[in-house]
């Protein structure tokens, strides 16, 4: 039987504010447990929330980034449930009136095609703390450093049809939010966590099947695996004539399986009601417009510009535009060297290659954009060949200085002096009479191949510094002369 997969994603995005959404405590990751939890975060008696304006600003930036309606009036609600890492016994969230309404954005798939995915809403809320079950001998430790960290919960429409689309959606989202600078997007530290709602239906059906929700999946790869696994699980149930139970499941990366956490029958009644400690958030259109004016160029526009202004292929433009830091780096290289295509090639092949090998972030690159542009300039002005340039780049990576310093120190300057080159050509032609004779005896087709031998010898003698174009010209001249000498 053929099943259609229906997937909607809920992404919990940690916003990159310095302090928490309702308190002045810091949000930095990795501090000693409970050192970044103030009286508000600990829900001490009488403590009150005060909304962090920056969190609202970031939420509005996201809304504008996906062309969504911005809620000029939004309301915080209390979502009530008991859990030790939820100090107040309720989470402050937005229920009926979220800050960001309907929007959509385009995802790009591997084959280059695009799809438009709807965003239902995005709302602000606070994160909970963490329960630590290890190291406490049958007890549970509570770390409230994360409690009160601002989250933007981004809810998609059930528009995704397979794991590839889900991952592409997340990557596009990741690219967007890091572009906007509203989140560090660090998935390993939990800055972007994903709940997957997945159901199957018969191909052609328009009603939705019963869904399962897979909670808290926090890497692209795990999302992909969890979806594959869940599709298989549900298909097996349906094909055996069974029914999928609406429930919350957990993806276990170690065992590569999902398992049931709780079913809907025992689900909490969250008793949502408007948070009386906070006034409704009322913002005006002028404020929204002032934020719109500060938005950076976003990936789709940038990709388009790279194609039209720099003549890049759609694929290359997509790679370079996907990451704001990389795009900025690339554009700085273009500015410094003026050749956009060579710059694109060097950034994508050499730079990204070195970064990948060293498992480094762009910010950790020992070669800055200006330095790389300097190197490319030396290729363009004929000082060095592309091949030598790769050696120079490696030396630059190793910290030996800028391109000019390395070229001078190693004497890598390309030899374009015709006198010096002629002497080299004479030496090689004169020193290899057998090869010359073979060359002269060969037909036009084979000569092309044989001439490579002489070029190789000359480059070897010149340590690769001979100007290849001039070598070719001189060599052709000399070999032709040798031929006419022999005939005479």
């Amino acid at each position: 039987m053929s099943w259609e997969v229906v997937i909607g994603l809920e992404v919990h995005l940690q916003l990159a504010t310095r302090s928490k959404i309702f308190s002045g405590a810091a949000t930095a990751f990795g501090a000693e447990p409970n050192t970044q939890a103030c009286a508000v975060d600990l829900a001490m008696p009488g403590m009150l929330p005060v909304l962090n304006e920056q969190a609202v600003r970031y939420a509005v930036m996201f809304g504008l980034g996906i062309g969504a309606e911005i809620g000029l009036r939004s309301v915080f609600d209390r979502k009530n449930y008991f859990y030790p890492d939820l100090p107040k016994g309720y989470q402050i969230s937005q229920f009926q009136e979220p800050i960001v309404g309907r929007g959509e954005f385009e995802i790009q798939l591997e084959d280059g095609s695009t799809r438009s995915i709807g965003i239902t809403r995005a709302h602000l809320e606070e994160d909970a703390g963490k329960s630590l079950h290890e190291d406490f001998h049958g007890m549970t430790g509570i770390d409230l450093n994360r409690a009160g960290t601002p989250l933007l919960e981004i809810v998609s429409e059930p528009d995704l049809r397979n794991a590839e689309e889900a991952v592409a959606y997340l990557k596009t989202l990741h690219s967007l939010v890091t572009y906007l600078g509203i989140s560090d997007g660090n998935m390993a530290e939990g800055s972007m966590r994903c709940d997957i709602n997945l159901s199957l239906r018969r191909a052609g059906s328009t009603t939705l099947g019963t869904r399962a929700e897979i909670k808290n999946v926090n890497s692209f790869r795990f999302v992909e695996k969890a979806i594959h696994h869940e599709i298989e699980r549900q298909a097996e149930i349906l094909e055996a004539g069974g029914q999928v139970v609406q429930e919350t499941r957990l993806y276990d990366a170690d065992r590569d399986e999902t398992r049931s956490m709780r079913s809907k029958e025992v689900a909490n009644d969250y008793r949502y009601f408007p948070e009386p400690d906070l006034l409704p958030v009322v913002i005006d259109q002028a404020w929204v417009e002032s934020i719109r004016a500060t938005l950076p160029e976003l990936p789709p526009a940038k990709r388009q510009r790279f194609v039209s202004d720099y003549g890049l292929s759609s694929y290359d433009a997509g790679v370079l535009a996907a990451n704001r830091a990389l795009a900025d780096y690339y554009e700085a290289v273009v500015e410094g060297c003026t050749d956009a295509k060579i710059a694109a090639n060097w950034v994508q092949v050499e730079l990204l290659g070195q970064l990948n090998r060293g498992e480094l972030e762009l910010g950790q690159s020992p070669v800055g954009a200006a330095a790389l542009a300097g190197l490319i300039q030396r290729i363009l002005d004929g000082s060095i060949s592309g091949k030598i340039a790769k050696q120079v780049f490696e030396a630059m990576w190793a910290g030996e200085g800028d391109a000019d310093t390395i070229i001078a120190a190693r004497g890598l300057q390309q030899v374009s002096d015709s006198g010096a080159l002629e002497a080299l050509v004479d030496e090689v032609v004169g020193g290899n009479p057998a090869q010359v004779a073979q060359y002269l005896a060969a037909d036009e087709g084979k000569r092309k191949k044989l001439v490579g031998f002489f070029v190789g010898q000359i480059m070897k003698l010149s340590k690769g510094q001979a100007n290849p174009q001039m070598v070719n010209e001189l060599l052709n001249k000399k070999l032709a002369a040798a031929g006419s000498d022999g005939e005479s």
Binding site: A25, A39, N52, F273, P276, L278
Partner: protein
């Protein structure tokens, strides 16, 4: 000395008739000698008070002046006080020593007041009699068989018995005004948002408001001057500038239009109490006020509306008391569920549990629209009643309560009878208006109060009217017969109440050592980065 007004005490301090330490010591002596009768204090902080008084004396000696500098006062035990246990009248917080001050406490500390201690109250401010405290019931200084009202009954009794010249209170449905009326003192509930709620243990966030309690409107004005004002850490506090409430006290009342809602003078009002109220109103008329009959047609709905909204908010405000981070924790919990259920079962008293249950029910899926949403709609109708009335009149007046203080235990077993006590005060909280109770004489030797209700942020006018009334009468100068009317009974015994059940055996009304487990030290540092 204990009959002097705050202005007179302040003058005495400035003129070195007595020092703040001497003044403070005399109040501490009085508390030690007399509070066994009233049980109005939960904690008396002798060392802290004497240190604060000495500091005030240093400031006075340096020539500093300030209307409250060196003046002792008592805080309701709902305001967090750094280093001093803040119990909220509950076993749940019997061991809780806040590492921070409520904004009100900070402001009053900065003003140079000397905190004598923390006053007894209904548990988590839920009650109208101060009987539901973990620390035993408070007695009315006018008659020890009677309740002082609640929930700020400890503050009211302490001021009435001259154990403190000033006290703070909080009012969610009448908790300042009703005990002020029952104890023959003056108490003002300011406009919602006028006084910061930060550090005030929350009961019902949209209704709670702190305010002053004293023997006169003049003293209340001085205390409110120091309490009121915008607090950036309370999002619901108002940014409207605060007036000097003392400045306008002398303003004549000529032409003041006072509305008398017919719903406040109906069947439920005790006849003798009604007479006292009419006498007070007649005096206001003599002072130039014009009395106008008005109607607040939705008054009757304020009780059911309040008893949905307040418990709903309370049910979630009290979720933080879970035995995990501070406060009471049951012995040897078997698992998480056991920790929650037993800590809350053992830590909360009956009235608190009742309201948590009611509030949880009102917010539950399927009931929300019928109860909570409906209550919010009615709340708007009640607000509109007042706004409409204020198109005709400047102020509204009536009784604070249906009658004088009832006896201890009389309504303890009947929550609904207790809730009816608040019929004239609840609507003021639902509408967010300022309301004040001033003494209006005695009924069978027990005080009753005249309630004045003002327009939003018109506390100054209320205090002005209260002051003018008090200049022309001596109801507020009547002194309870200290200890004389305890009817020969032991102060702890009374019908329907077993002290052993109500009071923890180890409790004594003196300073207690702070509990060992103090929470982390960080104070909030503000909102936006």
């Amino acid at each position: 000395m204990h009959e002097l007004s705050v202005a007179q005490l302040s003058l005495g301090l400035r003129e070195k008739q007595f020092s703040s330490v001497e003044l403070t010591r005399s109040y501490l002596d009085r508390i030690r000698a007399l509070d066994g009768h009233y049980n109005s204090f939960v904690t008396v902080d002798e060392n802290g008070a004497l240190a604060a008084a000495a500091a005030a004396d240093t400031r006075l000696a340096a020539g500093e002046t300030g209307p409250l500098l060196g003046i002792p006062l008592a805080h309701k035990d709902i305001f967090c006080s750094r280093g001093v246990r803040t119990s909220c009248g509950s076993k749940m917080l019997d061991n809780f020593v806040p590492p921070y001050d409520a904004t009100v406490a900070t402001r009053l500390r900065d003003a140079g007041t000397v905190m004598l201690g923390k006053t007894n109250m209904d548990e988590f401010a839920m009650g109208s009699s101060s009987e539901s405290s973990f620390y035993g019931p408070v007695r009315n200084p006018w008659h020890s068989d009677c309740v002082p009202g609640g929930s700020s009954g400890g503050s009211a009794a302490a001021v009435a018995a001259r154990l403190a010249p000033l006290a703070t209170g909080t009012d969610t449905g009448g908790s300042i005004r009703q005990p002020a009326a029952f104890c023959g003192i003056t108490g003002l509930k300011p406009t919602y948002g006028r006084v910061s709620r930060l550090g005030m243990v929350a009961f019902a966030s949209s209704l709670d408001q702190g305010g002053p309690m004293a023997r006169s409107a003049e003293d209340c004005a001085l205390l409110l001057n120091a309490m009121a004002g915008f607090d950036p850490l309370d999002s619901t506090s108002s940014e409207l500038p605060v007036e000097d409430y003392s400045v306008g006290l002398q303003q004549p009342l000529a032409g003041l239009r006072i509305g008398l809602p017919r719903e406040y003078f109906g069947a439920g009002l005790d006849a003798a109490t009604g007479e006292r109220i009419h006498a007070a109103l007649a005096l206001l008329e003599q002072l130039g006020a014009i009395l106008v009959d008005i109607s607040l047609p939705h008054t009757g709905l304020s009780i059911p509306t309040y008893y949905i909204i307040a418990p709903a908010e309370a049910s979630t405000n009290l979720s933080r008391f879970d035995g995990v981070r501070y406060g009471y924790r049951c012995q040897q919990p078997r698992d998480l569920h056991d920790l929650y259920t037993r800590s809350r079962q053992e830590g909360f008293g009956d009235e608190v549990k009742r309201r948590i249950l009611v509030g949880t029910y009102a917010l539950s899926a399927g009931y929300y629209d019928a109860y909570y949403r409906k209550a919010q709609q009615v709340r708007r109708l009640i607000q509109e009643d007042f706004l409409k009335a204020f198109e005709q009149v400047d102020m509204i007046a009536g009784p604070t309560t249906p009658g004088p203080a009832f006896t201890l235990g009389a309504k303890g077993s009947d929550p609904l009878a207790m809730y009816l006590e608040d019929v004239y005060t609840l609507a003021v909280n639902l509408a967010g208006l300022p309301g004040m109770s001033v003494p209006a004489g005695l009924v069978d030797g027990m005080p009753v109060g005249l309630q004045l209700i003002g327009q939003h942020f018109r506390e100054a006018r209320l205090l002005n009217v209260g002051h003018q009334l008090q200049q022309a009468s001596d109801w507020h100068r009547q002194v309870p017969p200290v200890g004389a009317r305890s009817a020969g009974e032991g102060v702890w015994s009374s019908p329907g109440l077993s002290p052993a059940e109500r009071a923890p055996t180890e409790w004594a009304p003196t300073e207690r050592a702070p509990a060992e487990r103090a929470p982390t030290e960080r104070a909030p540092t503000g909102g936006a980065p």
